[in-house]
Symmetry: C2
């Protein structure tokens, strides 16, 4: 059996459904991966994620490296054991977090060194180390160590980042020593078509079981992001899974699926939920709003999640108003279910060959409208 | 059927098991009530409390009065609806919180007035108002508005507080207008036997379906508390439920049951859990301890709670170390289960007429040892 099997291709777009086989089970794509930054999707139990329909979750190498540290995770028997999560896990390489930290200033061709925000201890990270760490953390899918420059960095820097990303990808592949894991390459190059083309071409030469588009949704705006996805997705092998990192709103996801993307991760549902924003069939609502003080209906009338089956909008608003943890937890969980339901609809419409017309309608609906949503 | 039915009395102590019938179901006593201060047991879902074995929970009138306010709770259809909790609820009168606030200085024979910590709005509370509010909140058991002075307040003040508590109890009974609710009287008088005797006698004259011992565990020390309980419990009618407010450690509870107490509430399991302390068969442990960094066994090997069935000590320590909500939530839930298991053992040993010898052994065991535990 191949690692990735396309089960259906939409006749009117690049959308497709597939099965991605990993050491901890098979994932139906297109798939959304909730983010478990520090070894947990904040406030949510593994059993609740399973009930929500999460097929795979993401964990951040950078954060796990700082605490509890690779040694502890390894001693625990790997990330799955520590997190009590028996389904697939994907780890990023740690690169994105490091390059986002302003205190980092020593990025060289060889990698970087940074001070732990906890105790100031110097930590070195490069392509070989990032791969070794991910090998030891034991996720099912791991990512190449790449450089993601700021979206408004000068052209020279964008070029340098692509050059390094390619160079590091070779090192990552050579260092990769855990055959149970799938190592994905990451295409960088911001919104520059030539850079994206070069990076994709070189990574394909190296050869990976899956490819990601990185460096997007970092400030270039929705149109710039989608234009790049539409250009870059077809540059990637049609028979391999394509992962759009860090994206996005429901509308972003629908449109990226149209462009041929199979995998997504984003803090959008969870972070927004913790900030009292709930995605609903009627559009996003903010539960701190005084209008909900005496609204005793569920957050989303047709939703079957624990939040909607248990509490009223009034109760959730009360929880946010009094700093009760159940507010953030319930809305994060509700939003995860909303995202998983969206992916269900996407997969179903692709299977039925109704995806493209469904997508065009969906993008005009209040639930998935093409508008910016800020956390 | 009577409201309270004693099903077994221990032959060697004042301990007894009973059934307390309320509008939302029958409670097996002795019972421990987790505290849901602001309309939720912090971070814990109603379904998780049911699974943990919680028969009844406590909600604080003072906090519900401030937010979301009585009108909202009433409009929601009562506390049970707002909290999504279908089992019994007990509300306190609000008196304890008010008298604990140092900013309150206008306590008169008529009650008190205080400023909302949220918006400074003046709120008046007296015996009639506290009863009316509780009638509207709709808990199954409600409490008389009492005065609880500081444990080291002068004798004059203790006497005055008992006098007011008796006077207010009459007003509460006369004001009480929701026949679905049981209104309990509260005996004050600190560690003073004469005051306790007077207060109990006068409250019994007024007549309530249940009686509480209030004003304990406020600084008088374990010995002072237990001495008072042993003296005061037998002053209360043998055929009515006896509730020891705000107590306590497992050892306190065992000894209070020996003295004839049927009901307990305390933040001990939940607040301690949120502060990384777990009660276990081998004694209390602090999960922030570095010794647990690579301890991959459950918090309590023989515990069947979600925490112990899901996570290792190492994972829980990691959660506390990184500010992950699952740490506090899991230990609070574990501790609630620990307390409910303790009450199960107590009830079972009373039923088997082995309670007193079990209790003496239990008090020497690491799990329930007679030592102070601070949150």
């Amino acid at each position: 059996m191949s690692i990735f099997e396309i089960t259906k291709t939409d006749s009117q777009s690049n959308a497709r459904t597939g099965l991605l086989r990993t050491a901890h089970g098979t994932i139906k794509t297109p798939v959304f991966m909730p983010v478990g930054t520090k070894g947990a999707v904040k406030g949510i139990l593994p059993a609740q994620l399973v009930e929500a329909g999460s097929q795979i979750i993401l964990a951040n190498t950078f954060h796990m490296l700082l605490r509890p540290g690779v040694e502890i995770v390894e001693k625990a028997g790997g990330l799955h054991k520590l997190m009590a999560w028996n389904r697939p896990i994907l780890t990023d390489s740690g690169g994105f977090q490091i390059f986002s930290l302003s205190s980092i200033n020593s990025i060289t061709d060889d990698g970087t060194e940074f001070a732990s925000p906890y105790d100031g201890a110097k930590i070195k990270l490069d392509a070989a180390i990032a791969t070794n760490i991910q090998n030891r953390l034991g996720a099912d899918i791991i990512m190449c160590f790449d450089q993601c420059p700021a979206f408004d960095a000068p052209q020279k820097e964008q070029e340098k980042a692509v050059e390094r990303t390619i160079k590091w990808a070779k090192i990552c592949k050579n260092s990769h020593s855990n055959e149970k894991q799938l190592l994905f390459g990451i295409v960088q190059g911001q919104t520059d078509e030539n850079l994206r083309k070069t990076c994709a071409k070189e990574l394909i030469k190296i050869g990976f079981p899956g490819y990601a588009l990185g460096g997007l949704s970092v400030g270039e705006g929705t149109e710039g992001m989608l234009k790049t996805v539409r250009f870059a997705a077809p540059l990637l092998p049609v028979d391999k899974p394509r992962y759009l990192m860090g994206v996005g709103t429901p509308a972003d996801i629908i449109q990226a699926v149209q462009a041929g993307i199979d995998m997504f991760d984003c803090v959008m549902p969870t972070r927004n939920g913790r900030n009292a924003l709930a995605f609903t069939e009627k559009g996003a609502i903010r539960l701190r709003n005084a209008a909900f003080a005496d609204d005793f209906t569920p957050v989303d009338a047709n939703c079957g999640c624990v939040c909607c089956k248990t509490f009223s909008k009034s109760a959730i608003r009360h929880f946010f108003n009094t700093g009760e943890m159940l507010g953030p937890i319930m809305l994060a969980l509700h939003n995860i279910v909303f995202y998983h339901n969206l992916m269900d609809k996407i997969r179903q419409n692709i299977e039925n060959d109704t995806f493209n017309s469904w997508a065009e309608q969906a993008l005009e609906s209040p639930a998935y409208a093409r508008k910016e949503i800020s956390a």
